[in-house]
């Protein structure tokens, strides 16, 4: 091949490339074809929420599934959804009447048999459903009492029963899992016959999941009829790429975006920064019981109180966490039922902290390990605040699994923890995990606190529960078992032509979005 021939061939190739590039870039359309594209850092691998736990799946499940109840996004109260009503027969029995106009995505009606089947399937340990043990803890059995009525028998009065029926138990058609019941395998979760306002159209794990408005959805559902026809969940792991997609119009909604990225991009061109609350709270757990060693300074009340006074939480919220975050004084989220706010408070007061340390026998401070697995910036700011009063916090920033293992072995003097409560607006959702007598997260060694905080989730009377939580939370604050830090906020990036209101419980309900 001579040089002129090479040049001609190169020119032809260049022309062909230019022609190909002149074609429009394929993209997911937005408002023009009524399709909302959502960016997720972690993708959807299964659309069956009975077999998943992570947050992305809750967001999807709220669209494709309905339970018997749901949490009203405005009041955070539980209200009927696929159930028409419920009635407490006694403290341990609830009768639920099912609506007669609910249809599965395959067109078949929801019946009492389906409800009983779903609950019995989950209660059966062989189902390997992720919430088998959780439900088995409090639910004894479910029984059909009529064509559209079922009775729930609880092992003990469980105040979160109605909440769990909504947020944790999507309903399934009787026989859905017959095949896997024979083999013992896990369902692949690549298709779904749910009763939610959207039906699953396609699942491409690692790429995208497409759902479409279900025309047979019951008309007067509390969720309402969704305004947007189609939603595409795209897996885009990199924040920078998500930003670029938002700027180029390839994506219209992204959530849990780091504050700095969200605030920098929001307002730039077609993207808005929306900030909203989350039920996640941050706190430091102190080894008051001395499980990590009896000579631990944190076993002394004055020391624990000194640490509470030494940390400038307002400054951390203002300068690091930002957004909708707020300082907390109680060991729960203020929006949760029973989260008493009238507890002992520890305003930022380094002088008082130093005096308390002196009183405890540490006039020159001391050194201790502070473990953390997230919120590194905050943990470093906390260590810097403590250093100002002479306390050296050795920051041990490790993966969550490492922290868990060290805590199990009682090697941890203190750790920076956070808990989202599964978006359950009830103190029980944080108390159960942190204050039971058996959990290694409870480093108070205080049976009184355990009795109050765990006892409150085994009685039905709301007033009595509130009183118990108040007593327990007051004691936690007085004894300074924790350093309660702050609530978190959630940052969303939203296309300018999309109307989206941030939810109070941090659980985005995309069926409420609409085009402007």
């Amino acid at each position: 091949m001579t040089l002129p021939r090479i040049a001609r061939a190169a020119a032809a190739a260049a022309l062909a490339l230019a022609a190909a590039l002149a074609c429009p870039v394929p993209a997911f359309a937005a408002k023009s074809d009524d399709t909302l594209v959502v960016a997720l850092q972690r993708g959807i691998t299964s659309v069956d929420y009975l077999y998943t736990t992570k947050r992305e799946y809750i967001i999807l499940s709220l669209l494709t599934d309905d339970g018997l109840t749901e949490v009203d996004p405005e009041t955070l109260e539980v209200r009927p959804l696929a159930a028409r009503s419920w009635k407490a027969v006694d403290d341990k029995t609830i009768d639920v009447t099912i609506r007669d106009d609910v249809k599965f995505h395959d067109g078949s009606p929801l019946t009492a048999d389906d409800v009983v089947y779903t609950y019995e399937w989950v209660l059966n340990p062989k189902s390997r459903a992720n919430r088998s043990r959780q439900f088995g803890e409090w639910l004894a059995s479910v029984q059909k009492t009529g064509p559209s009525t079922v009775r729930f028998h609880m092992k003990y009065p469980f105040p979160l029963a109605l909440h769990s029926m909504g947020m944790s138990m999507p309903l399934r058609k009787k026989g859905t899992y017959d095949d896997i019941a024979k083999t013992g395998a896990l369902p692949l979760g690549q298709s779904l016959n749910g009763i939610g306002p959207y039906r699953v159209v396609s699942v491409e794990p690692g790429r995208k999941t497409v759902i479409e408005r279900f025309d047979g959805y019951y008309k007067d559902s509390p969720k309402g009829r969704p305004a947007i026809k189609r939603i595409v969940f795209r897996e885009i792991p990199d924040w920078g790429t998500q930003q670029a997609e938002l700027m180029s119009g390839g994506v219209q909604w992204a959530y849990d975006v780091p504050y700095d990225i969200a605030s920098a991009l929001g307002g730039a061109g077609p993207v808005e920064f929306v900030n909203g609350p989350s039920l996640r709270v941050g706190f430091i757990v102190l080894d008051a019981a001395g499980v990590s060693g009896k000579d631990n300074p944190l076993t002394k009340l004055a020391v624990r109180r000194a640490l509470n006074h030494a940390i400038d939480r307002e400054a951390i919220v203002k300068n690091i966490v930002k957004g909708d975050a707020r300082v907390i004084d109680s060991a729960c989220h203020p929006a949760q039922f029973g989260c008493a706010q009238d507890v002992m408070k520890y305003p930022y007061d380094p002088a008082r902290a130093r005096a308390l340390l002196k009183e405890a026998g540490y006039p020159d401070g001391f050194s201790f390990d502070l473990w953390a697995y997230r919120e590194k910036d905050s943990a470093e700011a906390i260590a810097a605040d403590l250093a100002k009063v002479g306390v050296k916090a050795n920051l041990r920033y490790v993966p969550l699994a490492t922290l868990d293992q060290a805590r199990k072995k009682h090697q941890i003097q203190s750790y920076f923890g956070s808990w989202e409560s599964g978006s359950v607006p009830d103190t029980a959702a944080i108390a159960d995990v942190h204050w039971s007598a058996t959990t290694d997260r409870n480093m108070s060694g205080d049976p009184e606190v355990t009795a109050d905080m765990i006892g409150a989730q085994r009685i039905a009377d709301p007033a009595k529960r509130k009183a118990l939580y108040e007593k327990g939370l007051k004691r936690i604050a007085e004894q300074a078992y924790w350093v309660p830090l702050y609530t978190f906020s959630l940052n969303y990036l939203v296309a300018g032509d999309l109307a989206f209101n941030p939810p109070k419980d941090g659980l985005p309900r995309l069926y409420l979005t609409r085009w402007k």
Partner: protein, 305 residues
């Protein structure tokens, strides 16, 4: 030749066993698969249930022996995260990575070899300095940064290519440039030094005396000998691209093996990570073997065995 192939096969087995053992224990020491599968906010009951269901509560040697036994029976295991057979999972993700790697290596060849050749033909000239500058620049620029710059310029400001995804050939252009750019310096400099050495040899002087000049001299006489080390490097680079495109695949949201590896590591998906590391290691072994064969073909003086 047969003995050589057998020895390489035994080596491959040893490499496979060692990497699988190291991967298994490192992964289990570094993470708690049950917690990773359940997610950060899962209750202890859910984590305990998952630990029991998947057998994470069994001693590590027992878990490893079970995996090894499955492998011996041709059962690569089932992904915890994706809930599908690992073999099928890798097969479904491989085409994206192979396509990306081949495009990247093509870009490397198209850019690096001509640049190296030009630099060798005019050593210490302005062109040579320019080529060296390109090589140093490409080596110094981090891939993720180059990726974001290309996205901003060619997908946001001037929407010629899509930002992310892998549904059309256009989706592969920017990631292939980023991935290919990383190999340009090594290949370009090796081409240059190889050619400089060959161009100074006696047979080239003879060819010049016979009237061969410029491109003909280069392509007909010098290139074949100068390419022997380049082929070896290209094989290693291709292996690296087939197994190491984690960042590029993540930035451009390409659903290939690199991203599968990252997701599996983050998700504590031990069977998938183990099999991926095994596949990556075998890819290297096979590619270096093929490079040796190709080297022997290009230069008959090279003998295998």
């Amino acid at each position: 030749m047969l003995r050589y192939a057998l020895r390489r096969a035994m080596l491959a087995l040893a490499v496979g066993f060692t990497v699988s053992l190291a991967t298994f224990f490192l992964l289990n020491f570094a993470t708690d698969p049950a917690q990773a599968l359940a997610g950060e906010d899962a209750t202890p009951e859910v984590v305990a249930q998952i630990r029991e269901q998947y057998g994470f509560d069994k001693p590590l040697p027992v878990q490893y022996a079970r995996w090894l036994g499955g492998l011996a029976r041709g059962d690569f295991g089932e992904s915890y995260h994706w809930r599908s057979p690992v073999g099928a999972l890798i097969a479904s993700h491989a085409p994206v990575t192979i396509r990306l790697a081949l495009m990247a290596i093509a870009i490397t060849i198209v850019v690096a070899i001509p640049l190296g050749a030009i630099a060798a033909l005019r050593p210490d000239s302005f062109i040579d300095r320019m080529a060296l500058g390109v090589a140093v620049g490409a080596q110094a620029i981090p891939g993720f940064w180059l990726a974001l710059v290309l996205i901003i310029v060619f997908a946001v400001k001037f929407p010629i290519f899509p930002v992310s995804g892998d549904s059309t050939w256009r989706h592969f252009v920017l990631p292939a440039i980023v991935l290919g750019a990383g190999s340009v310096p090594a290949v370009m400099r090796l081409t240059r030094s190889g050619l400089l050495e060959v161009l100074a040899s006696d047979y080239i002087r003879t060819a010049r005396a016979k009237g061969f000049r410029g491109l003909r001299l280069l392509t007909r006489h010098a290139m074949r000998n100068a390419m022997v080390p380049v082929v070896s490097v290209l094989a290693v680079q291709l292996g690296a691209k087939l197994g190491g495109s984690v960042i590029v695949e993540s930035v451009f949201a390409l659903n290939g093996l690199g991203r599968l590896a990252l997701q599996s590591i983050l998700g504590g998906d031990v069977p998938t990570v183990q099999m991926l590391v095994f596949v990556f290691a075998m890819t290297f072994v096979v590619l270096t073997f093929l490079a040796d064969l190709l080297g022997a073909w290009l230069d008959p003086r090279v003998r295998l065995g």
